[in-house]
Every structure is written in C-alpha cells, then in structure tokens.
C-alpha cells in the first residue's frame, strides 16, 4: 500500500478515532430506531466504512466542499454536520438542515460545506467539478471532494467528470469507497478494471488505491491529494478498499454476499482494529476511548429525542422552494 511523508500525529489519530466512534454509533442507532419503528426512511448503512471519511475530514477545512451520495451520512457527519440537525432532517422535521424536505438521501448543509447529497449513482462528480471551477475562478484556497461507490465508476458521469477535471486541472478529489458490491452485484461482475484507481491513467491524473480500513494509510493519501489540489496541480482519484457490513438498503439481508466473505470483512472491521492500535501505541487509554464512545451514545439519545419532538413542516412547504423570487 501507499506510503508518503504524511503521518498523523497522536492528537490527529485520536480525532480520527473520535469521528469513527461517532459514525459507528450513529449507524447503530439509525438501524435501531428504524427496527423499533420509531422512524421510517430509506437507510443505506455505511457500517464498516467509517475510517474513510474520518481520515478525510481531518485533512479538510470547514470551507472545503463535499458532494456525497445516498450512502453518505458518514461523510457528512465526519465533515461536521451536527447530529440534531441530521436527525431532525431524516425524521422529516422542520428543524432538519433542509426543513425535512431532503431526507436521508438529499441532505445539504452549506455551513459545513455539504453542498449536495445525491440519490443518483455517479452524480456527485459532475457537480463537484463545478464547485472546483468556482474555486479556481475566485482564486480561493478550497478543495472539493466527490465521494461515490465502486458501482459509480461504471457510469458515464464518472468518466466525463474525471476527464473534465483533468483538462481543467480542477482542485477536486474523486473518492471511491470501494465496498465490493454495487447494490447486489459483485465488483468483478460489473467492473472491467481490476482496480478502479487504474482508471485514472486514462485521464492523465494520479490514481491511488489505499486500504480503506486503515486510517493512518488513508490520512497519508488524503493529505497528499489535498496538497495537490491546493497547489493547483489538479485532481486525484482515490480508491479506498472497504466493505459494507449490511445490505444495500435497510431491509436487504445481503443474501448475495457469501458468508465467508462477510466473516472475513467483519474480522477486518476498521473500528476495533484502530481502537486497539491507539491503546497499543499509547495514544489513548481504554478508559479514554470508552468515555468518547459513551459521550456519543448520550449525544445520540439527545439528538433522536430532539428530532422526534421537532414539528413536521407546515403543509405550505409542499409548494415552497420550487422557485425563488425573480430578481
């Protein structure tokens, strides 16, 4: 796997863990709340993929832009989207980031740079290019990240976007979270290239494959790509190898995933692996990590109750925000 000069220090590693703990707890709580019938929503679990956005986020500023997808709540939480606003949104309540009109697949939080969440495979990338073009036009120090899954690398938008970003030398990072399945279909059955990172070669840009369950390795790859973008040296395609521990969407039991493959993936769970490493390296004690985890459980208790107590939007919202007031 890739190595370079970027090594996260102890506090940065702890910050990555903190984000991973938040994401894992949030996913577990989401599935629990749906299972108990307190909320009804389409939910795309990201359990198993927590290391990727956590390592990304510690390399980004609030002002950097993110375009993510329906399986993207981990991406936006890591970027800083507040729990209460998230939960109110996925509950369809007026206190959500989008007044409950976006829902789990279409969250936007401009304040934290979460500019677009799309339910259309591949669509995060063409829009990310436009945000990056805006940055280029204004001479700003801002990076745009488009995240997507392995399935999206087979759709036209991926290829059109990488090519445009290459010829325009845009400050953008294309982050593929390769969880080995596009919906129900195995990677190799849908994807001609052995490695998605290799597709970068076709566009004359840098492509890197990295262990998506290793926050330290991810940190190094993201730091380099962010530095490249900030230096005006163009886009990077990153393929982070990972796995999702649940079906495509909540309710899908994932029967198409062989039991041994799932067992191997769970044995490679990034969360306990990184947690043990921090203790072994003396970066944090078991008690400190347990306190972080307990803190997020309490935050989630509060966020869920806040969301469920928030009112639904008024029915006038059905027809509001279709058009703005003409100039």
């Amino acid at each position: 796997m890739t190595t370079n000069a970027y090594v996260p220090d102890g506090p940065t590693q702890l910050e990555m863990f903190r984000k991973m703990a938040l994401l894992k707890a949030n996913d577990e709580r989401s599935r629990k709340v749906i299972t108990t019938g307190r909320l009804v929503m389409p939910y795309y679990s990201y359990r198993g993929q927590e290391a990727i956005p956590s390592a990304l986020a510690v390399n980004l500023k609030d002002t950097d832009y993110l375009c993510t997808i329906y399986r993207g709540i981990h991406d936006m939480l890591a970027k800083g989207l507040p729990l209460k606003a998230l939960w109110a949104e996925i509950a369809g309540r007026v206190d959500g980031t989008c007044k409950g009109k976006g829902g789990p697949m279409h969250l936007t939080d401009v304040e934290r740079g979460v500019m677009v969440t799309t339910g259309i495979v591949g669509a995060s990338m063409p829009i990310a290019n436009g945000l990056a073009w805006a940055t280029q036009l204004r001479g700003e120090d801002r990076v745009t990240v488009a995240t997507f899954g392995d399935g999206a690398s087979n759709i036209g938008a991926f290829h059109e976007s990488l090519n445009l970003a290459a010829v325009w030398k845009l400050p953008v990072i294309f982050l593929c979270q390769n969880n080995r399945y596009g919906e129900h279909t195995k990677y190799a059955k849908a994807t001609g290239a052995a490695r998605i990172a290799d597709r970068a070669i076709s566009y004359g840009i840098t492509g890197v494959r990295v262990d998506g369950n290793d926050p330290v390795a991810l940190y190094a790859v993201f730091a380099e790509a962010v530095a490249r973008a900030r230096a005006g040296e163009g886009p990077t395609l990153i393929e982070a190898m990972t796995f999702r521990f649940h079906g495509h969407v909540f309710g899908d039991k994932g029967g198409y995933i062989p039991a041994e493959e799932m067992a191997e993936a769970i044995a490679n769970d990034p969360y306990p692996r990184f947690r043990a490493k921090l203790v072994a390296d003396g970066i944090a004690t078991e008690e400190e990590l347990a306190a972080i985890e307990a803190g997020f459980e309490a935050d989630l208790d509060e966020a869920v109750e806040y969301a469920l107590a928030s009112p639904f939007p008024g029915l006038e919202e059905v027809t509001t925000d279709v058009y703005g007031a003409a100039a």
């Binding site: 989008c98 936007t108 339910g119 063409p126 829009i127 059109e160 976007s161 925000d321 279709v322 703005g324």
Partner: protein, 337 residues
Amino acid sequence: MSETQGQTQAKQITVLEAYKAALMDAMTDDDQVIVLGEDIADPEEGGVVGVTRGLSSKFGELRVRTTPIAEEAIIGASVGAALVGFKPVAEIMLMNFTTVAMDMIVNHAAKLRYMSGGQTHVPLVIRTMTGGGMSTGGQHSDYYEAWFAHTPGMKVVCPSTTEDAYGLLRSAIDDPDPVLIIENLPIYWTKGPAPTPGTRVPLGKAKVVVPGTDVTIVSYSRTALESLGALKAIAEAGISAEVIDLRTVSPWDQETVLASVEKTGRLLIAHEAVVPFGAGAEIAAVVQEKLFGKLKAPVKRIGAPFNPVPFSKPLEAAHVTDAAKIAAATIALVKGN
C-alpha cells in the same frame, strides 16, 4: 413597457447577433456570469454558429470555457458553480443533446432548491438550438420543450425575435433558477430591430403581436413567425386572427391567453413539437377548464405528426408546422369544418 423602446432604433441585427449581444452585455455587467460549452471559445471559432464568438477574447478562457463533448459534465459543472453564486450560461449545442444531460438538469438543477429546503439554488441558463428545415434529420432538430416544462423547478423560454432573444436571455441570466432557452436554428439569420442594451423582456409574459377578434392563435419560437405568415391567407378568408407569441412556455402567461380567448371565443395552438402530450395540450386543458361556456368551438392544436423528424426534404416539410398549415387550420376552426 421598456421592451418596445428599442424599436425606435433604425439599426437591424440578426437574432444570432441579439443572443451574442445579450451574452456580451451580461458578462460586462456582472463578473459572475460565466459561459461554457462545446467549441464556444474563440480558438474553437466561438461556437458552431458563432453565437459566443468574441466572448473568450474579451473575458478570457477561464470565464468562457470550451468543454469536452460531454453534456453531463457541462451541466454538472454549471450546477456546481451556480450553487456557490456564479451565473453559468451553458451551451448545449443541439436540443437533442440535452438528453445526455437529463440527470443533471431534471434531478439536480431543477430540484436542489427544493431538496435543500432553500439553502441552495441554481441560477443556471442552458442555451440550446434546434428546429426543422435544415435537413438535419431525426437527432438534430427536435423540440423537447414539453419535457422540461413538465419539470417543477425549470423555466422554458422560446424567443422568436431579436428583441425577445436579447431581452429574454438577459432576464434568464438574472433569474435565480434554471432557465432553458430554446433557440431556433433556421431563424438565427433573420433580422429585426437592434435591442436597446440592458433591456429585459420579463419571463412568463406573452406578447399580443397582432390583435384580432375571431380567433386566437397561440404559438412560440419559429412557429410564432409562421403564424404571422399565415395572417394574409386568414384575412383573405374574412377572418380576424389575434396572434400571441407565448415567448415563455413555462411558466406560461395564462392571463394574456385567457383574456384573448375570452374575447375571440376560439383558440388554435401551434407549435413545432409533436402534438400528443405537447405544450398545446396543457394550454388547451387550462383554457377549456376556465372558459368552457365561452368557447365557440373546441380548442384546436396543430403541430408535428407523431413521428421522428425525417431527413428527406419533402418529408421534413410535411413534418414542420408552417404558415400554410396554420392558415388552413385557423380557417377550418372558424368556419367550422
């Protein structure tokens, strides 16, 4: 209305020059206006018909940017830049090519204001050209305005004159939401009064081009000019027709159309697109709903038959809605046969 002030000018320009002037003036007035599309910068000759010629030399190739032939990437980049305050004017060379970018237009540009609860919006203009009559066949001349008019969040504009080309494009660039401008290819080189710089023609406002008493003809784009061309034959049949150029297909000017049909009692809707499920169906439905008891005849629609645009010249001519067909349909509507 300010839009008529330009008519005092003696100078004549083409419709194509009017679009170009609107872009030039908008970019001069506002540095957030940016332009992108295939072949549009001056090293690529400023567009295949030259609407954008001169822009990149004046404003630079970062603001006036030639793109790869990749319509989804073009509209995606426009959406992204628009989300953070730019006013992109994207050129999709031909209307049929908008189909390649439908996800970005329909699922993203049109909906992001709504889905974000008003946090973001997409002040994007998409210019595209189309139209039968130049033997460009089944994939280069379709009118798909009804597809976009059927999409909440979109506005659809179809200019037919120099002043509307200029004034509607300026209003579209000012507008905070995505606007599709459908430019008719065969009329690019027709001439009309040079618009007064800075003039706006409001979106959603139709124009009564010729007043009349017996029948209302509602049309837009090139077909509005064909409707005017039909007036001589209609008058010779002893009929007084009122011609309305809708100018904006969505949102369409119900007030002007309903007032006219209330007066005449008869309505013919003429467009170049195929008739079934076309814009004419929506107008007809609203008119019969609001004016049922006041109509002297059933509302009539005329447009292309339900087939792809053919290549062969006589077949293409049979497909396109021209003045002769509009005259015949109008006379039949009024005479009751």
